[in-house]
Symmetry: C2
Subunit: 216 residues, 2 copies
DNA sequence: ACATTTATGTCAGCCATGTTGACTTTTTTC
DNA sequence: GAAAAAAGTCAACATGGCTGACATAAATGT
């Protein structure tokens, strides 16, 4: 409440730019560089939160990302994960193998389509993923509290608007779907070792909609 | 103005959380996971902007970061860069050598302390750095415009608040110092091949204050 | 004057995580 | 039964972190 001194570096907001919008008038000399750098420093701190834990078990950020999204989308296919992470099958395969071998992720053949490997977290994996979410949520919560009551929606809107327009829809759907599933799970049965009830993703039919980006 | 559909995934704001703040009541089941993920997707897009250009000249993101901060702090020392980037001398040395060899960065011995190598961008380097700033500023400007007139300060405050408390001061000072220098430069002489007037960093004496973090 | 510290650079090697390309197996779909 | 899809694998390579060990030049302290 008394630590934020943002205006220390900001020029007088909008009037009197000193230099009259040099060469083009769009995004060159304007003080948006500060936001570029704040984004860099903020994200670096943000991702460094889980690093300590990860290092203790010989994992890296790639493992974190996989754990996170499998946690959010229990029963997801490998292809779904590839669509979200946008890395190659080989890169994913490396970390996924370690996570399965060490008992953090459970990979079972799909019931309806036995080519698929449906990914679930083991209790061990869930505990770890929950640790990460808790850590990073603390940081976000603290930040939002310092920014006042309305900051949450503004921050959300800002982050969404920073995403490529063609990705926004899929990303928001992805988040919405995960939220719905989590809600259904907690309001339903006591919720452990969830049955693959009704095709855990997509749920529209045999071919669940891609989580992110239909094609590249 | 009509494209943002943030509320598609958000539960009814604050009341009726569905699950009554399970196990601890702080940052576990609360819908802050969406912000975690939005931050991930937003930052991925954000850093991918310059990638296309970088790939064309055989550079990577490490080169981008070096170019950016040398651009913002002309005449900075190698140590300053290390403090900001928080990587090892060896890692920095690799990309710095390439940037100097290929004529993007000029590395001159300091006048008062000839051990120092003061880093400046060449015109070629400046042009490239400016390209990156323009690209990323476009994204930010677009995002802020979509979020309304007050979003800029909120976004700034949010990003600052996401930074580790002990880093905020140094980071804000860093940004303020760069802004001041840029201002002085544009308002001063016609502004080319700037003289090392008055010790380009710190300016308090022989030992300029560290840009970020006095001690690792 | 000499010892120490500081700023920088460099060699060598390792690790994590991304990439491409080629190929296999299993299963589903047409 | 052919083609396509889901997954996995091997090999090789690139980027960009890391550690450890040194080397050199210049400033600083005694």
């Amino acid at each position: 409440m008394a630590d934020i001194n943002v205006s220390a570096s900001s020029r007088p907001a909008k009037g009197d730019p000193g230099v009259p919008a040099r060469s083009g008038g769009l995004g060159e000399g304007d003080p948006l560089v500060d936001v570029i750098e704040l984004f860099f420093f903020a994200y670096r701190n943000f991702v460094s939160d889980p690093d300590e834990i990860l290092q203790g078990i010989g994992f890296g950020r790639a493992h974190h990302r996989v754990l996170h999204f499998v946690n959010r989308h229990p029963g997801m296919r490998v292809t779904d994960l590839l669509d979200i992470l946008r890395i190659t099958k080989q890169s994913l395969g490396r970390v996924l193998r370690e996570l399965v071998d060490q008992g953090f992720i459970d990979s079972r053949a799909g019931a309806s389509d036995r080519r698929q490997r449906l990914l679930h977290l083991t209790p061990k994996g869930e505990a770890l993923a929950q640790q990460f979410v808790t850590l990073q949520s603390h940081r976000i919560r603290r930040a939002l509290e310092e920014c006042g009551p309305d900051s949450r929606e503004t921050a959300r809107r800002f982050l969404v608007a920073m995403i490529d327009p063609e990705d926004r829809g899929p990303v928001e759907k992805l988040i919405a779907r995960a939220d719905q599933q989590a809600e259904a799970k907690t309001s339903g049965a006591s919720g452990k070792a969830s049955p693959p009830a009704g095709g855990s993703l997509g749920a529209t039919g045999n071919r669940p909609a891609p989580l992110v980006r239909p094609a590249g």
